[in-house]
Symmetry: C2
Subunit: 398 residues, 2 copies
């Protein structure tokens, strides 16, 4: 990219204006052109990816696996873009409508958010997914990927921009920021450089943004999630949910970190322990464990005296992400869902369901524990803002 | 208040938990108790207000008028609280609902936002209005009023807290921060001290918060609003709207600051000039005028070559608040409402309508030009966030 850092925002704002004015058809044409360009240039993408994979020698196998593109995975990138094209366009939807006594007709409509900065790790699929979601919602985006994936990201950026240009839209709708941390720090120091920053993965990077960004950050600021086994819990559900919430994918933010058990259900403890330890989980009962987000096969355990004790524990240690109660008592379920303050609250289900795909949103660009704007999985609707359109016949204010 | 600054947030969070758990009836009981306490203690309120009014000797008459409470105005404060009680409760409303194939039932519900800091000028009515709106939406609030109104605010705070306590709710749902600027600066330096700051009035104070606050600020960051008279504008509507938008209340953020006229409608210029100048407006055609938010009986004027020229002018100089087109051409109206990026876009109506009361929201706590969370008038709904409630029967993620 010949584009200098200072030129990114003005170019993005101009492209965003064009995207906001474009209809659903034009945006879907751009997405189809991106998908076709990915398929057409698959060989080139894989060749560039090989350079990154060679350069990543010595990294953990999980990182190299996420970084590596194969023919199948490149085809998957194109499929993902077409899946975004197939989603309903959130733009122009009327959220609220009323006609005043003076005859003014007011509609509150969804419009694009503007310019979105996406910061992510060495996952080349995010380059394509994030660009596709932003274009679909009429936004410009600035992508900031990992140095480990720089050859792959560069060719994917070129492919995405080529597709957008082929569809007659401004390629600056998708731009990239360099991988240098200082460059990112300078960019997010300007509150007007973008309308929002969405970090995807990378706790350290997320903390850096939450600490330093003057642009609002939409992120899961923590994932200290709980499963609370109530006095009336069904034993089989309790065991299945505790094990699933902890072990199905321990390294993610919606995995449970602490198991709370009502004193009147202590009889279930041996079975819970056996199931969790049998799945490789180390159980810890100290206060330090309750405050820790392990993201690993470790879990805090605490016996509480009452539902109130569980609510107090979650209010103290929880991070407002995903919280579950296992209970057959409707009143307890009602109090838990009402009083627990979190993005997602579960009754008799695993915390692991907090995910845009699982929630029927089609795709997600991240998860937020923010209280402002969007809380929970971030899909297309969360990449929009609103506009009041008021149509009159000469009305003036008295 | 014996409460120290550092103790405000923990006390507010604890009160917010109680309010979030309270039903509509309990919150309305608290509002009725506040209204009754205002009526019961009217004499005391007026006596304290007299101290402030005496201390404000030498201030501008408009400021003294806003500060002064009379029997009628105190009765109006109580009425305003009852009007808030009569509004529909936004909390618990289902925004989205779906049942997944696996049987999980998902609802996205409105829940309270949390802790809200309201910063305002010497308007004692804001103390009561803001507290009532926050309590109604289940939020705790921290009020930071003006030193000019300190005696009035102190007694009103005591009255409001007394009403809340009488209804069995925690009085720390409404607290106050001292009037010292340094205290405000310290408070907003902590991103966790409140969930959002809403400044009401006071450009200098708003700029200070937008510049320094680490807590998100919901505000109208500017009000450089335009009236664009299109080629096909109806003359009578054009004149009435231009005059109303500029002069009905020139000092507010939704007043128009620049009049744009299509070259093919230049014939209307003498009439527009005569009407505006007849209403005391000084018209200025220089570029500096176009960039200025006068908040006064001054107005920029520019003849543009086309609708595109008007759109470009508004994109360059506008602040995304309220923008109006006067036109009889449906296609021009459609392009204007689609392409102008603002909180509110008007066709054949005055920009002055951007107001929560006018929009049927019952009451407003401010206006926002933010793109995140809430754009336009801020009513009860804008004082909420959301929570996903997911009910299952033992579902775990595969």
């Amino acid at each position: 990219m010949a584009v200098t850092e200072q030129a990114i925002t003005p170019a993005a704002r101009q492209a965003a204006r064009a995207l906001a004015a474009a209809g659903q058809g034009a945006k879907n044409d751009a997405l189809e052109a991106i998908a076709a360009a990915i398929e057409r240039r698959a060989g080139e993408i894989i060749a560039e990816n090989r350079l990154d994979v060679e350069g990543a020698d010595g990294e953990r196998p999980a990182i190299i696996d996420r970084l590596t593109l194969t023919d199948t995975r490149v085809a998957g990138l194109a499929d993902a873009v077409r899946a975004v094209a197939a989603l309903p366009d959130p733009i122009g939807t009327t959220i609220r409508e009323l006609t005043l006594e003076n005859g003014l007709h007011i509609t509150k409509q969804r419009v694009p958010l503007g310019v979105i900065l996406i910061v992510y790790e060495a996952r080349p699929n995010v380059t394509v997914d994030a660009a596709a979601l932003c274009v679909k919602a009429g936004n410009a985006c600035v992508l900031r990927g990992s140095r480990l994936a720089r050859h792959t990201n560069a060719v994917l950026l070129d492919v995405v921009r080529e597709g957008i240009a082929e569809a007659g839209m401004p390629p600056d709708a998708v731009q990239a920021l360099g991988e240098d941390r200082a460059e990112l720090a300078r960019f997010v120091a300007d509150p007007h450089a973008a309308d929002v920053v969405i970090p995807r993965g990378g706790e350290e990077l997320k903390d850096f943004l939450l600490e330093t960004s003057r642009i609002p950050v939409l992120a899961a600021a923590g994932g200290n999630c709980h499963v609370y086994v109530d006095a009336s819990a069904d034993p089989a559900k309790a065991v299945a949910i505790a094990v699933n919430a902890k072990t199905q994918r321990p390294g993610v933010c919606n995995a449970a970190e602490t198991l709370l058990v009502h004193r009147d259900r202590e009889t279930l403890l041996p079975e819970l322990r056996a199931a969790l330890e049998g799945a490789g989980v180390e159980l810890r009962e100290d206060e330090e464990a309750w405050a820790t987000e392990f993201l690993d096969l470790k879990m805090g355990l605490r016996v509480v005296d009452s539902l109130d004790g569980a609510l107090q524990h979650i209010a103290t240690y929880g991070t407002g992400h995903s919280e579950a109660i296992v209970t057959e008592d409707a009143a307890a379920a009602e109090r838990f869902t009402r009083e627990v303050d979190a993005a997602a609250v579960y009754v008799n289900a695993s915390t692991r369901f907090t995910d845009g795909g699982e929630y029927g949103m089609g795709a997600e660009i991240g998860i937020s524990t923010n209280r402002l704007h969007a809380r929970g999985p971030l899909g297309l609707e969360e990449l929009t803002t609103t506009k009041y359109v008021v149509v009159g016949d000469g009305q003036v204010r008295e």
